[in-house]
């Protein structure tokens, strides 16, 4: 029987893991260990509900409620001098519990501190756009929409940014295969030649390491080429390539393997 492969996460998996392997954790420390972070967290906690907060690799991570995000970022920007949104995106946890985790990486240049604000949303829910606070969220949220299909409310231009506008599927979802899906395989064929050419051209092969031994037109059969359309049986006669005219050309002798001398004395 074929081994069962889960469909909700088709990304590469470790082919072998020791059954007693327990992954170590990146150490987390308490927020009270850093005075600046502790003060910031206290200020945020006074106004908003904080679910969890800790320090990991010199940065504070704060979990909040999804509906508070606009307020929290506005408060952080105006009151706590976190003036830059470095990065924001999502993490796909659909296979685990049908949620997305959204993170916002904030930077304060006066305090030299970085805070990561995070929250969870359920599959199909939208996030609140923070584009009014940080203009860079305009493109980040579009990228998140493009890659995960997460909509942002109140966004001025919720369109795909990296993929074509008429693309189907969200490439960074764990359910999306690395080589692309059915739609991706036919996208360019349909677009350039039309659907009726599908039989002639075939789907686009995005696996660059693929070697097709029945391919009569590519390098795979170098030296054993056959006319196009010939049925491949596997015992085609060798058809060595000759790159020189018989008898050689002016000043250049014809090279033959038999007349060449192999020097096997390493000292010569």
């Amino acid at each position: 029987m074929r081994a069962y492969k889960p469909k909700d996460d088709v990304q590469a998996k470790a082919y072998y893991t020791d059954r007693y392997y327990v992954a170590p954790q990146v150490p987390k420390s308490d927020v009270s260990e850093d005075a600046v972070f502790a003060a910031d967290l206290e200020a945020i906690q006074a106004k908003f509900e904080v679910k969890e907060a800790y320090i990991q690799v010199e940065q504070m991570v704060v979990y909040i409620n999804a509906h508070d995000i606009y307020g929290v970022l506005k408060f952080m920007r105006d009151e706590l001098s976190y003036t830059q949104l470095s990065e924001m995106s999502a993490i796909d946890w659909l296979a685990k519990d049908d949620t997305f985790e959204i993170f916002y990486q904030m930077l304060s240049m006066t305090k030299r501190k970085r805070i990561r604000i995070k929250y969870f949303i359920n599959n199909g829910e939208a996030v609140d756009s923070v584009e009014k606070l940080f203009r860079c969220a305009d493109w980040s949220e579009r990228e998140m929409f493009d890659m995960f299909g997460i909509q942002a409310n109140n966004h001025p231009f919720m369109k795909r940014i990296l993929m074509p506008y008429d693309w189907q599927g969200n490439p960074l979802l764990k359910t999306y295969p690395l080589e692309g899906d059915e739609f991706a395989a036919w996208y360019e064929v349909d677009k350039i030649y039309g659907k009726e050419a599908r039989d002639v051209i075939g789907p686009e092969i995005r696996d660059t390491a693929r070697v097709d031994r029945y391919d009569s037109e590519r390098f795979a059969r170098l030296g054993h080429e056959v006319p196009k359309g010939t049925e491949i049986t596997g015992d085609e006669p060798a058809n060595p390539q000759e790159y020189q005219e018989e008898g050689g050309v002016f000043l250049i002798k014809k090279y033959t393997k038999e007349s060449s001398k192999i020097i096997d004395d390493p000292q010569r």
Binding site: A12, V26, F103, Q105, R135, L162, Y165, G194
Partner: protein, 413 residues
Amino acid sequence: MAQIKNRLTPFFENISFDREDNELILNFGPQHPSAHGQLRLMLHLQQEMITKAHPDIGYLHRGMEKMAENMIYNEFMPTTDRMDYIASSSNNYGFALAVEKLIGLEVPRRAKVIRMMLLEINRLMSHLFWLATTALDIGAMTVFLFAFREREYLMDILEGYCGARLTHAAIRIGGVPLDIQDDFIVQLRNFLDKLPQNIKDYEDLLDTNRIWLMRMEEVGVIPTDMALSWGCTGPMLRASGVAWDIRKEEPYELYDEVEFNVPFSDKGDNFARYRIYMEEMRESAKILYQTIEMYEKCVINNETELMAHAPKYISAPKLDIMTQNYSLMQHFVLVTQGMRPPVGEVYVATESPKGELGFYINSQGGPYPYRLKLRAPSFWHTGILTDLLPGHYIPDVVAIIGTTNIVFGEVDR
């Protein structure tokens, strides 16, 4: 099979039409020599003035974040080269540092010095390339030839080190693979000794050049709040009045041991950015002189380690692998299965020549990252064109794109 030309239903392909309100829509790119890559701009024009700009990206999208999720950590290293391919070691470094922070590795001192040398050489290469192409876009052919000559010299040094000119893959997680070659320091010194004169040559050609000044001064002014709001970093932010350099503020490697200045300006225009690139080249040269001294001290102190010692994550030195059975076994497992960093997440920002290059890695304890987000500075430096271009004229577009120093390997990833 013949290609049916009109089968390609255009979104906006090559449309430029007059409208009732006398507005012209101009399609700039994606194949435009001065767009520095596959940038497409939809420009709404009133006469020659831009009223609305809509940058369209994605023509070089290769899905690197997706690839990262399907590659072991060391496998992804050469892919990072293809982000900012003008200064690829800085991408290697950003990724290596992020994984090292995740694992909690300490890199040997000699490797740190070599890394700093590579990073600053890359910064010089990137800035020289920026100067050359921007000057060429604006019409200064001589500067282009001069700057490429110097960049070629640096590329030769790096070719001697890692064998590649553009895609170096010269940094490994845990250190560097090789010591620098014998004539590296001699060649670097030769180059650095000539550099001040070279920079002066460029400045003599440009600083008082009327055409250059007209295209640069008071053009493309980015106010401080706009730069902050759009996530600008690096020279783009420093030209807008914020003296923020990650090398200085959150020092990594040995940047806290070297002396250098952070040039900044409060003008925010093209000319300010140009001046900052020139000054940064001088500062990089200063850092490189100091790293040469540090390297020579490492040699005297006999610090020969190049890779961190962490058998769980990093392969042993070649000699051990060839002579010790256990090292060979570990190397085999690390190559075939890959290292497994601890469960956790990390965001590490480094100062690449273009700005803040950040790597967010979420590890679930497997050999593949669960999520890897690349924070490329050029992405937002392209986005800012939406707000920056309106009010400018068509010729300014080329000058502004030039000084934003965007690289499309990094924008589209």
